[in-house]
Symmetry: C2
DNA sequence: CCAGATCCTTGTTTCAGATCAAGGCGGCCT
DNA sequence: AGGCCGCCTTGATCTGAAACAAGGATCTGG
């Protein structure tokens, strides 16, 4: 169900590290691979394969066997979990430089779907697992990153359990801004590659509440809603609202 | 603020592995240490120190430097995060066999408080870190465990964001039951070492809603409220309610 | 045995956000 | 153009859980 729907366009990067070798990779210093020496990088590169996914394509599906792990080099992805009755919760959004499959699981616990055209560096899980076993400091790096993710999950739980709609939305915008900044995107205009429904499912709200809250923030000149995103007009006030 | 309030009673377990050596430890096979050979276990043991905390004592506090990591060998602990304005969220409850400080953080991201009399196996973080660096399969084990925790955090987010009060409470009871079962406690009567307020703060509810929901489940003969816990009378129905 | 404290339950009222309902807007296809 | 579709907004109403309020139960120490 996955590879057919997304029809990924595979281009190996093995052939003499032609156009997109790891050494020139734009996420080289912000992602997990930053832990590696150039020798190790070469080894990692030999395992990698660039794959492009169309918008709305599926990278992998909840409960399916995890055949690979991924490093996003272009585009954004939504990560979600489904309940049998159809309710869904969006765990989060993965951006450029994010690693999917950090925990090296046997089966994926979430579904990953491309929000835009997405390019990933794909590693066979077995081969990556082997490399990790042989390179403890790569594992260390992975583990650090997992600890960081755990902290983010804790923030999110507090947000979901103990905060109101406005706080949630403000906080969401600020968090996204901080993440963009970390990968070098510091524009005042915040791209929102996900739809309102995705934001709602991420914050435990309904689409109407998200829309109303954004509209209110716009009316109060805290943000300005623009096509494809929002402009943050009054950061201090937004920070005040977001806690 | 921490060591004074809990007045921990320290007993080293170095002295000729007197009463409580790792080899005879009751959490030996259910905890992280299960990854180690007996040689490595001896080394680990030389780093460990048993510490007893009184009920309501603080093991460590949010934002304070993480001087140690812990393995719980007796009792239960609540893990919480505070908001500047006083709201609190209870991240979860740690039981016998649980490891605190999995991510080996520089600073603790949560506060840990003893719910009952708690005994922990305490490891200096630096020393433990060194051991981990030298024993990749211990790190691997830690990482696996972190991945598992991440999965639990995801479940909890879905619970907080997309489920009603009754679902939350039923699910909480079932999750606790499963965890007790994993450490060999399979009694029909579920101990609840935490108070109603803690449950409320864990589920994103108020104490009144938790109390009412439990009362209703009791009235409908799904559970029976007993001092210090609940008896699970109608497991199928509870599972139906909990999703 | 009583005073005070802590924790839990129960009743009543209020409110934030869900739900229901109806457009609006822009893109895309023919 | 026109019509359809997906996405977003806005308004009206409803409701589940919060907030407020008042005891009751259990424990502790004097």
């Amino acid at each position: 169900m996955s590879s057919e729907t997304c029809a990924p366009d595979e281009r190996s990067c093995r052939h003499g590290r032609s156009e997109v070798g790891c050494a020139e990779c734009k996420v080289r210093f912000i992602s997990v691979c930053a832990a590696l020496t150039s020798d190790e990088l070469a080894e990692l590169e030999s395992l990698s394969r660039h794959v492009v996914h169309e918008p709305r394509g599926t990278l992998f599906t909840q409960d399916e066997e995890a055949s690979a792990v991924y490093n996003i080099t272009e585009g954004s992805v939504r990560l979600l979990r489904l309940l049998p009755d159809g309710r869904r919760y969006v765990m989060g959004f993965a951006l450029v430089g994010d690693f999917l499959g950090l925990a090296l699981p046997e089966r994926h616990t979430i579904t990953a779907e491309a929000l835009s055209s997405v390019t990933v560096c794909r590693f066979e899980r077995r081969a990556f697992q082997d490399l990790v076993t042989r390179k403890p400091h790569l594992l260390q790096r992975l583990h650090e990153r997992a600890g960081y993710e755990l902290g983010l999950a804790q923030d999110q739980m507090l947000l979901l359990g103990r905060r109101g709609a406005e706080e949630k939305v403000a906080n969401f915008l600020l968090t996204l801004r901080r993440r963009y900044a970390r990968i070098g995107l510091t524009s005042v205009t915040l791209e929102l590659p996900m739809g309102r429904q995705d934001i709602a499912d991420h914050l435990g709200l309904t689409i109407e509440t998200v829309s109303r809250t954004l509209t209110r923030l716009d009316r109060e000149k805290v943000i300005l809603i623009v096509p494809g995103g929002v402009r943050l007009l009054d950061l201090p006030r937004l920070e005040h609202l977001g806690g």
